[in-house]
Symmetry: C2
């Protein structure tokens, strides 16, 4: 059985159990808590509003710039919004290592000022280019050499992926998992976990950081499944958790045992070529959406942004759409720099990010939407079925709900395959929380997708993801899929 799949199905860890990991993270959050205080913009020291444009910039010209964007869509009226311009590609990297037949991932307990719990489980290393070229005079990020030096290990994934297209202008990160064969020193604040353990921790609110979700959301857990697992998945799709005990008691057997009914459907969906639409039809659907030029974009100074009000402490939209820009001071004793002040992005409501799934002709499909996003170079990215997250649409505005919102929210409990509140990256976002949900609709009647929507299998979705066509919210949510 492939090591990745085994790890996804297992919480067996010779170093640290899952409950010990929860305790470790909770304790770290309590003892090493950052002191975070909201401050007025004028107290930001190194950050200030640039004369002329009004953009919020760092004295060094580095890090990022909060500027304005005027967005003119074809189909609705024009809007202005602030947008974060950070023209560099960072790295979100996880080191993997197989030890005694189990594939482990080196994870970190990391503090960020915007984390609701203070500490979250993050990748081995996360760094902007400014970080690892030491622009802000901190230490060189630990473990960075494993990702910068080619040939240190075997590449499991290495993909360029967009971040929030509603907030960032063309910001992308490299998502890397590298499997090494050598001994890796485990520094204080780091630990080895199986993929199954990380999946279990995702059942808790706010414990697993966004960057971790993004990287593991890229892992193709189905594509290398062994034949025993596959047959098991095929047999068990949606029907019966009970099975005969006649199969051999080998590795595959053990793994197949721990596969849930929904997990079996996932594996099957991730591997079969059965699908409601051919791969060519799926790509054609996306090509059509992308060919229609939807948004005209004009970069403007932050002070020219209309319908946003700036107070001493925050910049917010008049109708409480999108997000808020605010400022904090941070004090810590274990980060690269022990005191700093920075702008952060706040939300105006708890968002909702949901996938509707349904078996079509015996194969589980996911309902995806062509999302228009001003900060994505392509303007149209593949998003989840329902998305309210820092954008124009507000969950609180029930009169203008997007299609399927009620279907996602009012789903009977027995059809909800995942539901948990998770927070977004605490180095940029201040207590921004979204509910992540996966709902499996009854297979009885096939919901016909309206324009801009399509049903795709997990194999099709993961292929599009690999080539950078799937948005950050959908990738976040895919990470939450569990096989057990």
């Amino acid at each position: 059985m492939p090591a990745l799949l085994r790890s996804a199905l297992s919480e067996e860890n010779r170093f640290q159990s899952t409950s010990e990991t929860v305790a470790w993270l909770t304790e770290a959050g309590e003892t090493r808590k950052l002191q975070v205080e909201r401050i007025p913009f004028r107290a930001l020291d190194e950050w200030s509003f640039e004369p002329g444009t009004g953009d919020l910039v760092h004295r060094s010209g580095k890090f990022f710039r909060v500027q304005g964007l005027r967005v003119s869509p074809d189909t609705q009226s024009e809007w202005d919004q602030p947008i974060i311009n950070q023209p560099e590609v960072g790295i979100l990297g996880i080191i993997a290592r197989e030890m005694e037949g189990q594939l482990y991932f080196l994870m970190q307990a990391k503090m960020e000022p915007g984390n609701p719990l203070g500490v979250q489980l993050t990748p081995t290393m996360q760094a902007t280019r400014s970080n690892y070229t030491q622009v802000h005079q901190g230490a060189r990020p630990r473990y960075v050499e494993y990702f910068l030096e080619r040939g240190r290990g075997r590449v499991l994934i290495d993909e360029l992926q967009f971040e929030q297209g509603t907030v960032f202008l063309r910001k992308r990160n490299r998502n890397i998992v590298i499997e090494v064969a050598e001994d890796v020193p485990v520094a204080d604040g780091y630990c080895w976990l199986t993929l199954g353990q990380i999946k279990k921790l995702l059942q808790y609110p706010n414990l697993v950081g966004m960057d971790t979700r993004l990287v593991i959301g890229c892992l193709p857990f189905g594509s290398t499944a062994g034949s025993v697992i596959l047959n098991e998945a095929k047999d068990r799709r949606g029907v019966n958790l009970e099975r005969s005990r006649s199969a051999p008691q080998d590795d595959n057997w053990v793994a197949a045992e721990s596969l849930s009914s929904f997990g079996a459907k996932l594996i099957y969906s991730a591997t079969t070529t059965d699908s409601a639409y051919t791969d060519e039809e799926v790509l054609s659907w996306l090509t059509e959406l992308r060919s229609q030029r939807r948004l005209r974009l004009q970069r403007i100074g932050l002070s020219s942004v209309e319908n946003w009000q700036q107070s001493e402490t925050e910049l917010a939209h008049d109708a409480r759409r999108f997000f808020r820009v605010l400022a904090v001071s941070v004090e810590a004793d274990s980060r690269e720099v022990t005191r700093w002040k920075q702008p952060l992005i706040g939300s105006t409501e708890q968002g909702l990010i949901a996938f509707l799934a349904q078996e079509i002709h015996g194969t589980l499909h996911f309902l995806v939407r062509g999302n228009v996003e001003p900060g994505n170079t392509e303007q149209v990215a593949i998003g989840p079925s329902v998305q309210y997250a820092l954008g124009f649409d507000r969950l609180g505005d029930r009169d203008h709900w997007a299609p399927f919102t009620d279907l996602a929210l009012d789903a009977p409990a027995e059809t909800v395959r995942y539901s948990c509140v998770q927070s977004e990256e605490g180095g940029r976002f201040y207590y921004v929380e979204n509910e992540y949900r996966i709902v499996e609709l009854p297979a009885a009647h096939w919901l016909h997708p309206p324009e801009n929507y399509l049903w795709v299998t997990l194999r099709q979705l993961q292929t599009l993801l690999k080539y950078g066509f799937v948005n950050v919210e959908a990738r976040n949510l895919l990470a939450c899929l569990s096989l057990t």
Copy 2:
């Protein structure tokens, strides 16, 4: 056997033989020749240099704009160049239809002012959005409804692909092949051809238009090959064209018979998962190149472009790099509009676009290069092994040849798998010709690729192509690969 592969292997056509098609194109070129004359810029009528910027623009503000671009690479000194800004997505579309067991493609004999032979074989339909929304007051392009109305047929391919990143700023076209089941009226100037016939016509200089090459370059001829063909391909890789006569005389047999030794290697390379680098390593190589921000781009007015001289009749680089901008008047009696004047792009030399191929561990690989292209949104696209085409590098500048140029040019005749001069799209380019070459290096020793280069199989290359990562020059060249 899949219809597409059969069509690629066959010149059997109940409507028109290949030699009749050559005669038909040649005759059309002679009898319906466009009258094209170079004129000074000031005689362009509807086109003029915009006050202030100096940009060359159409009175309507439509079509395209020739403006300036200042390019600052990390690794060499800054340069200025003109660039064509045409912010709309056009369509290059071919209608396919299976008739009496043979898959045919509806092709057109089309005149363009910049075609060396006047007439070329083009797709069923080629149109910018301005075309089919009738901005220039011509007729609606014939057959456009097959591509705009969804569900008219089965999508074989529908991909958004970049055009020349050295000349165009982010210009992309949809490349579509749609297979219809209904009768299609064949208008005057159109004909049905097999893919094998189109491949044969590509052995002639300048007869097959660039847009045709681009669309058929997207067709995945290997991926649906039947098992008989596959086994044949596997057996015959590079060894022996002779074979026993014991196989059954069915369709597959006939097709396998017409497969050349190099064709067998191509089919095998397009289908096998054997490869020198894993798919993850290939994507990682590209991710690494794209993560390094290489070019800073600044749009400038055309009159601010340095090191270019503008005479009455052309705008050209001081050192004859890149290309030339010039103006023509055109007279025709069978185009949508019968007289017009327009700017065109000329070249400064005949270019060279070449692939080196080599069997590595028994599988044919192609040497690709990470090409830095200012007009490509991604800045780095996957290009052929050697490329001199309208860019900074000049073939005439032997002292600064890129790696492998001599290997491509000086290859012994028996290793040259393709060599022909083809011209670029005559609606934008004025007699711009490039030599296209494919050279198979002896399998003896594996050429280790330097940085920026990688060996990939045809399957890997076609996958990357499908998702828009392969540049226009490489796609052009892939179209020239023949199985027979």
